[in-house]
Subunit: 145 residues, 2 copies
């Protein structure tokens, strides 16, 4: 936890960004909700509990910054909001998601299932893959009745 914050602090400073209390509070919220898929509004409300003076615009600006630094990934499941998902430390690629069309639950898959597929794409389409987004839509275990 603390060392991850330290890490992010270094990343910020290396590009002459500052680690403000608001940014730190935002990062802490993200770390504490690592498996969730929070919207900007969600993050705002959670940060507000600890740092009540923060403004929604600052949260948006911070999330944008963290996306740029690849600390988080900005994702979109088709409802009208962007969601923000912390990257696992050192993860090269974005993880995958299973979205249940019945209950709306979102499950994360950490393991990279796309190694072979990426090779095909690189060869066949001469496309230099940098990252991917993979989401499955279907029915989750507990909704299968």
């Amino acid at each position: 936890m603390e060392n991850r914050i330290e890490n992010i602090k270094k990343q910020l400073h290396s590009q002459s960004y500052k680690l403000t209390p608001q940014r730190e509070a935002t990062v802490r919220v993200l770390l504490e909700h690592e498996q969730d898929h929070l919207s900007a509004e969600d993050v705002y409300l959670l940060v507000k509990e600890k740092a009540p003076e923060i403004g929604l615009a600052t949260v948006y600006r911070t999330l944008e910054l963290l996306t740029e630094l690849k600390v988080v990934d900005k994702i979109n499941f088709g409802d009208g909001v962007s969601r923000y998902d912390l990257r696992k430390e050192g993860a090269e690629h974005f993880h995958h998601h299973l979205v249940c069309v019945e209950c709306g639950s979102v499950t994360e898959i950490e393991e990279d299932l796309l190694g072979d597929v990426e090779k095909v794409v690189e060869k066949q389409f001469e496309f230099d893959v940098k990252d991917h987004r993979l989401t499955f839509h279907g029915v989750c275990k507990s909704c299968q009745n």
Copy 2:
């Protein structure tokens, strides 16, 4: 072309929807731009050339309807707009995309690369896969210099 429209007409009628001139014009635009990834606004402007009286709201309502009928897929590449992509006739699954981070071009991959991956997901996570979304981000052939 004409038979695809006829087909869609039948699908509409089977659920007591009507094939209005506005809907037909919208479908024709989608058919004429099969490889593009048009936003609602894009579609609106193109339809307007042929049917100038159409309203943007009608385009939105038509695209929503076609999404429900699985004639098109609504996709989101992370810019703020939804895009609409015609399904290949009889396609069970949504096709994949290669998005170039340099020039923004979008290439479609028709062949299904995820057969094996889906089997893993079904077994390992007991998740009943209905559809998927797969997008690769990287550098396309012509930007690799």
